[in-house]
Amino acid sequence: MSATKQKRDFVVAQLEDLKERERIVVDADGTEVGLYFYADKVRAWSNVCPHSGGPVCQGKMMPRTVQLVVGDRKSGGPGFHPTDRNIVCPWHGFEFDVLTGKHPADQRVGLRSVPVRVEDGEVIISI
């Protein structure tokens, strides 16, 4: 018989604080989670990179870099996407879309989501 671990809720941030800062990374009783507020959406991702286990949420938030193409399919060089934002793992540079958690070059590689909700202005995760 296998034991099922009971999930527990943790209040990890105030929504207004998260909105202002866009990203807060917490250790909640030993589980590390990155909280994000972007494009009016709240996300919570495990702070463990699927590549090598690095602290992915403790890296930078950067606009997604795109390849610009100009007239006659010439290269316009690299450019920043006007709205898409990526989380960048500080260990090796793996990047993940902040809203989908997916790697831009391989959709099979992604962050593990953590159940999150907002109640009465508090950001609550279930782990």
């Binding site: 105030q14 930078k60 540079g93």
Partner: protein
């Protein structure tokens, strides 16, 4: 550690973790590696045969040890004025894209060591070793990886001599877990001979390194006395690969990743090819050859290519008594940066060169494409013994290191600093 702001509950169980940057304490950057050590490999004996620790921050100390008065004066003048940590070196700062514009936050480290005692390099190295669960670490100068392409051979000589002094006099005596491989200024063979004779018996020097990024044919007769001295010393000879965007072939590549992917394998492929086709393993059979920082995928490629050609043209490789791949199975290779997106290919690669006995773990810490020991323990196809061999026991055999535990427990490391920024 930051205090949570405005929480109504759970304050005692929730703490905030800060963004990682080049100024973050190594123990915080590597806290997840320490947790991996606790879960997976705390009882392993681990030797990291290639790490760098960012010695360039102490470049002024190296310059002070230059034994030529004029080059020392010029070097110190450059150091104090426009060149700083690049004084006398031939690297191109504008082409240093390693951190991808700061995205890889730990690259380009400047360890916070305020309030600690001892040499800051040694402090940073100890933090890294403890955090990754390493018993020994071989440190090597990243600032000098391109010196083989320096237009002034005498600069390579004076910097090589100075660095070896700094390593053996300033760094290695401070921590017995730190080991060094002597820098050989390979463009000047007679100085390499002099240095091997001088340092062969130094307890902290466990081998010799040639920076692979250069155009010297390794089979040249100018090196035979050097190889004899190395063979007699019983210590291995490593070729540490690197990049060089100035190479005409690589100048076609417009992105750092393209050039980096190809050049790190390119130089070691050339040197292995020359070493084998000119029958150097037959002429110097006791030299233990190590090929560093080219990853692994190139090894079965080169084995197949050289076997294919030698079978058709044996008269061009008349000194060989067996196929090139057989010689390559007798050489040693370092793991990093280990390609591991396709487990079937990686397993076949490791079988091709008998990784269980020939592969040596290397972290390359703190460079951007470093590998933690978990890159080996997580491999699903390796036996427990193979993992232990690759992570440390093979290195103990090659470098003649005792296998007594040298590191603190991962639990102790986490207790002392539980990954808080």
């Amino acid at each position: 550690m930051s205090q949570m702001t405005g929480l109504k509950s759970d304050e005692g169980l929730v703490r905030e973790l800060a963004e990682i940057s080049g100024r973050t304490d190594t123990r915080d950057v590597l806290a997840h590696a320490t947790k991996q050590a606790k879960e997976k490999f705390d009882d392993y004996f681990i030797v990291d045969i290639d790490a760098h620790v960012s010695e360039d921050q102490f470049w002024g100390e190296v310059l002070e040890l230059i034994d030529n008065d004029v080059w020392k004066q010029i070097g110190m003048d450059q150091f104090d004025k426009f060149a700083g940590n690049n004084a006398l070196l031939n690297i191109s700062p504008g082409l240093s894209h390693q951190s991808v514009g700061g995205r890889i936050g730990h690259q380009g480290r400047k360890e916070p060591v305020e309030g600690t005692e001892g040499h800051p390099f040694v402090t940073a190295a100890k933090r890294g070793m403890d955090a990754m669960g390493l018993d020994y670490q071989v440190v090597f100068p990243s600032a000098m990886l391109l010196l083989g392409m320096h237009p002034q051979e005498e600069i390579e000589v004076v910097l090589g001599r100075a660095f070896n002094r700094w390593l053996t006099e300033v760094i290695l005596p401070k921590n017995p877990r730190l080991k060094g491989m002597l820098y050989l200024p390979y463009n000047t063979p007679e100085v390499c001979e002099e240095l091997v004779e001088k340092y062969a018996d130094h307890p902290g020097i466990i081998g010799y390194t040639v920076c692979s990024t250069r155009n010297n044919p390794v089979h040249s007769d100018v090196y035979t006395r050097l190889y004899s001295l190395i063979e007699e010393s019983g210590k291995p000879l490593a070729f540490h690969s690197g990049y060089h965007w100035g190479d005409p072939s690589f100048a076609q590549l417009n992105r750092f990743l393209s050039m980096h992917a190809l050049s790190f394998t390119h130089y070691n492929q050339i040197h292995v090819t020359n070493w084998i086709i000119n029958a150097m393993p037959e002429r110097f059979p006791k030299i233990k050859m190590i090929w560093v920082e080219s990853g692994l995928a190139w090894i079965p490629f080169l084995m197949q290519r050289l076997d294919h050609e030698v079978l058709m043209r044996p008269s061009e490789a008349p000194g060989l008594t067996k196929l090139p791949s057989e010689y390559m199975k007798e050489m040693y290779y370092s793991t990093q940066p280990m390609e591991r997106n396709n487990m079937e290919l990686l397993e076949a690669t490791m079988k091709a060169f008998n990784a269980e006995t020939q592969l040596l773990y290397s972290s390359d810490w703190p460079h951007w494409d470093w590998d933690s020991p978990s890159t080996i323990t997580d491999l699903p196809f390796l036996s427990e013994q193979a993992k232990r061999n690759i992570l440390g026991l093979n290195a103990a055999r090659v470098f003649n290191l005792p296998t007594d535990r040298m590191k603190p427990s991962a639990e102790q490391v986490l207790q002392e600093r539980p990954g808080i920024s």
